[in-house]
């Protein structure tokens, strides 16, 4: 178990440096003029140019600059945003709870609706519920999430008036996050259904289920204690990774519903061409994604005894 975790940890460290290097390279090296890339299409005056050069150590060699960037990322010193000049870490700390809150709703939808429907579909494979759910999940996977978001906003918000069209924390409270949360979770929800269904259907046909039947166990016990315990191993893995993914998906949902979270900040930074903010947010989202992966690996070892002794 320990060896497994250490190996995973080392792989994560490698992935951390790999991904941050790629993000950093794309932002500061792929274009000829990193300052222009940071500032977008606006003309850059000398003062700004000097400030950015100092802040990002742009007069140093690439690897040294990358080192400063990683150090900043690890110590929480993310520099200042181009617009307004506030420390990026401060802005993010302010935005973070909203996104976490939104992601929580998305996650609840995924776990209850997604895994629940997947289990039922897997047990009744080939039935009406199964076929309907499968078709529905394909439709959800097929419709780009921003289209789904805009359409539901139009239908349930603008036309039907059930949900607020745009989110205002003071006015809507938690209720206002339900629709954005559902849309944020929709793709993961559909995938969770399909994954759970496949896994349950496969495990129902496993040899150990036949053994459990031959032992004279009741059907309910076989399904819950034997089949579900095994089927949910890959599902839990998927759900863990999805936590990391949900944060990244927030850029679309938060943009559409005006939810002032990290994704909203990222969208704003793209719109006003605030390069430092874009790099910082993406880097942090990537790190969260990697951490979620690591947690999942450890969880996997806890759930599946075969991994522990690898």
């Amino acid at each position: 178990m320990l060896r497994y975790i250490i190996r995973r940890l080392l792989q994560m460290v490698l992935a951390f440096f790999g991904t941050t290097l790629i993000v950093y390279y794309m932002m500061f090296q792929a274009s000829g003029d990193p300052i222009q890339a940071l500032a977008g299409e606006k003309p850059v005056n000398e003062a700004v140019r000097a400030k950015l050069t100092a802040e990002y150590h742009l007069d140093e060699p690439f690897l040294v600059r990358y080192w400063y960037y990683v150090k900043g990322l690890l110590t929480g010193d993310l520099g200042n945003s181009l617009s307004g000049g506030r420390p990026i870490a401060e802005v993010l700390a302010e935005r973070w709870p909203t996104t976490a809150n939104l992601a929580l709703y998305a996650f609840i939808f995924v776990v209850i609706l997604g895994v629940g429907a997947g289990v039922i579909a897997g047990i009744r494979r080939g039935g009406i519920f199964d076929n309907t759910t499968l078709l529905l999940t394909l439709v959800v996977i097929g419709i780009p999430s921003f289209v789904l978001g805009l359409t539901l906003q139009l239908g349930l918000g603008v036309k039907a008036g059930i949900f607020p069209v745009t989110y205002m924390e003071e006015r809507d409270g938690q209720f206002g996050l339900i629709l954005p949360g559902f849309i944020l979770g929709s793709l993961a929800l559909a995938t969770a259904v399909r994954l759970t269904r496949t896994s349950v259907a496969e495990n129902l046909r496993a040899d150990y289920v036949r053994t459990a039947k031959a032992k004279g166990l009741a059907k309910r016990r076989i399904t819950i204690v034997h089949v579900l315990r095994n089927s949910l191993i890959p599902v839990v893995t998927f759900l863990g990774i999805e936590i990391g993914n949900l944060m990244g998906g927030a850029i679309i949902t938060e943009g559409i519903f005006n939810v002032q979270g990290v994704g909203f900040e990222l969208k704003k930074a793209i719109d006003i061409e605030d390069g430092p903010m874009v790099v910082s947010i993406v880097s942090i989202l990537v790190v969260i994604y990697l951490l979620a992966n690591l947690l999942v690996d450890i969880l996997y070892a806890v759930l599946d005894p075969r991994i522990r002794y690898e």
């Binding site: 496993a206 040899d207 150990y208 036949r210 053994t211 459990a212 039947k213 031959a214 032992k215 004279g216 166990l217 009741a218 016990r221 034997h226 315990r229 095994n230 191993i233 759930l303 599946d304 005894p305 075969r306 002794y309």
Partner: protein, 327 residues
């Protein structure tokens, strides 16, 4: 008639698939008494496992459909019994062990959990008592250091030890009949012999009826009392083990015997049965074995051979059984 412990009577089973109907069991009858061992022998696809699954009530239905026949346990027809009542017989009266213990055991539970599970669930035994019983059972099947291994998982055991775990699990509720479906196929030859000896010993000690399903005539010689040879969903020959080894009464049995390596025939080429088992979606006309039979005549393609009683409980489903036996 119904004084046997377990009796399969004229069983017919079909598999209804999208490619058509396969008649996999066509009138199989056999019986088992307490303390005796019946070996059911046949190639894969002969229907030997399907029959066993029908006895256990774990046949996948669909695609399987039992179209005719009875399975009687202590005189009661299992096939017409309510499912709940039948479930209570599984494990407690009739238990079964399977070929590949690694996949037949649940990978995520400890062996102690799995051995004691039926005691706790079906008999309401308290956890510590059930665990103690699990250790006893593991001792019974000769797993060394049983107590320390209670919390281990199936993948931490060797193949032979895993099969012993499965045997221990099947014995938890003291069944009167044990069905062993190819219990040694996945194992090394030396381990095979150990498991066979263990089964024979347990059968004697616990006075169980044992149905041993195998494709390997070699492993049954020392263990079985009677042998039923199956081909294409029929029992083609049924006799006590000595009679069969002395003189088979069906060309298929003869073919199987000829394909076992023997010490006294060193240097001789081993013969095999030519061809493949028939496709049961489109079985051959007449005797199902005729395309592969060295003795086949014109009549074999036309007439399904009935099961001939050769006396002494011996039967053969060959039109020329008398000639083979006495010729």
């Amino acid at each position: 008639m119904s004084n046997h412990l377990l009796e399969v009577d004229n069983l017919h089973i079909e598999f209804r698939t999208r490619d058509g109907v396969a008649k996999v069991i066509n009138g199989v009858s056999y019986h088992l008494d307490p303390g005796e061992t019946l070996a059911v022998l046949g190639e894969s696809g002969s229907g030997k496992s399907v029959t066993a699954q029908a006895i256990m009530g774990i046949l996948d239905m669909p695609p399987g459909v039992i179209t005719n026949g009875e399975i009687r346990y202590e005189g009661r027809n299992l096939l017409t019994m309510p499912e709940e009542e039948r479930r209570r017989l599984r494990g407690k009266e009739i238990a079964m062990i399977f070929q590949d213990a690694l996949s037949a055991l649940n990978p995520v539970y400890s062996v102690g959990f799995q051995i004691s599970e039926t005691l706790r669930r079906n008999e309401g035994v308290a956890k510590d008592v059930a665990m103690k019983r699990a250790v006893e059972l593991m001792d019974l099947v000769k797993i060394p250091a049983a107590k320390d291994r209670l919390k281990n998982y199936p993948h931490e055991f060797s193949g032979g030890m895993r099969q012993r775990v499965m045997i221990a699990m099947s014995l938890a509720q003291n069944p009167k009949v044990l069905i062993a479906d190819e219990p040694t196929t996945a194992l090394d030859v030396t381990v095979q012999a150990q498991i066979m000896d263990l089964l024979a010993e347990l059968r004697r000690e616990l006075d169980m009826g044992l149905i041993l399903i195998t494709h390997d005539l070699g492993v049954v010689a020392d263990v079985a009392d009677r042998i039923a040879v199956m081909y294409a969903g029929r029992i083609v020959e049924h006799a006590d083990v000595h009679s069969i080894y002395a003189k088979p009464a069906h060309p298929y049995t003869q073919g199987l015997l000829d394909s076992i390596p023997r010490l006294d025939s060193k240097g001789h080429e081993l013969s095999t049965i030519k061809g493949l088992p028939p496709n049961l979606l489109r079985p051959p006309s007449g005797c199902a074995f005729h395309p592969r039979c060295p003795m086949a005549q014109q009549v074999c393609q036309e007439k399904v051979p009935p099961s001939l009683n050769l006396g002494g409980g011996r039967t053969s489903a060959c039109l020329f059984a008398e000639e083979i036996l006495h010729g």
